[in-house]
Amino acid sequence: MAREPDPRFLYLVEDHGGVLLRAARLLCGDWARAEDLLQQALARALIRWDPRRPDLEVVLGVQQELVATYLDELPELDQTADNLRLAVPSGPLLCGLGELEPMVRATVVGRYYLELGDRDIADLISVEPGRVRHVGARTLTWLDRRLRFAGAGLG
């Protein structure tokens, strides 16, 4: 017999659902697949739901589940990645994110959009926290240069 989800969990999801869905969109490149990804992440977070945890930890757990679910679903996502990248018109930042490797994309989105810690991301992608910091900074520099070229009409 299943129980009704905790109303606090529903409130937190409604409160942070927008950010989570946009992060999923950055990871997947498509709103529809982002919704699917977020649904999977929420279901996995609900499995590990503990009402004694504070709100920040719950939200952090859902964000980690989102990145982890994306990394788990990579084989299916990669099949349509090229088509999505060409079909969906977007700005220079989104195009730059679409050109990144999935691990690097997850690192940038997790570190600069979801504001996860280096150690949390390192645990998700199984690398050292220093590696996460280094890759994130270098990728951000690359995106900045791409944005400046685009702004100057060179991108």
Partner: protein, 208 residues
């Protein structure tokens, strides 16, 4: 424009535009999936609650069992002291063999309760004794109790009887401690050979 860790989110949100109102619908899907699968109950909290309930059950059962056993033992002891019937006396006698080696002073109160039956058994054997002698069997219940368990009624006098002399028996002036058991005159004729040999030892031996 410049992208760094502080402006990245704002710039990306600007490129993404308005977020479609999907989370509410997707949340309903999540809730529906949670209702159908019931993940929190099956995976998270129920096992812990189950282990806790099991531990509490085991502890309470052990405690209740211990209380019942202790209460039963206490009831058995009371029944032995109060009623004095044949049932509890058997249990009491089975525990008495080590008591035969214990000095009589340690068994004072317990002996006083169980000394009635051995006294009644010994009365038909012994000849009538004076009033002082009738008290004596109560003062030495350990001997009777040990005799009831192993029933060495004939072997026991072989060690103790020779220490008594026929002259001491039946003398009302002697104190009860120095008096031999009242059965000594009856058993002495059955073992006439043992009486002469312990006579020298009688001088240095004190009956407990």
């Amino acid at each position: 424009m410049h992208v760094d860790d502080t402006t990245f989110r704002d710039l990306v949100d600007a490129e993404l535009g308005d977020t479609p109102p999907a989370p509410a619908d997707r949340l309903e899907w999540v809730v529906r999936a949670a209702r159908s699968n019931g993940p929190p109950d099956r995976t998270g909290r129920l096992p812990r609650a189950g282990y806790l309930a099991l531990a509490v059950t085991v502890l309470s059962t052990t405690l209740v069992t211990g209380l019942l056993v202790s209460a039963r033992i206490g009831a058995g002891e009371n029944a032995t002291r109060d009623t004095g019937d044949a049932g509890p006396a058997v249990v009491h006698d089975t525990a008495s063999p080590p008591a035969s080696h214990v000095p009589a002073t340690r068994l004072g109160p317990a002996v006083s309760t169980s000394s009635d039956r051995p006294t009644r058994r010994a009365v038909p054997i012994h000849p009538p004794v004076p009033a002082e002698a009738t008290v004596r069997p109560r003062t030495r219940p350990t001997a009777h109790r040990s005799a009831t368990t192993s029933r060495p009624t004939t072997a026991r006098p072989t060690t103790a009887r020779p220490t008594r002399s026929p002259t001491d028996h039946g003398n009302p002036t002697n104190p009860p401690q120095s008096q031999p058991p009242s059965a000594s005159p009856t058993v002495t004729p059955t073992h006439p050979t043992t009486s002469p040999t312990p006579t020298p030892r009688r001088t240095g031996y004190i009956w407990p």
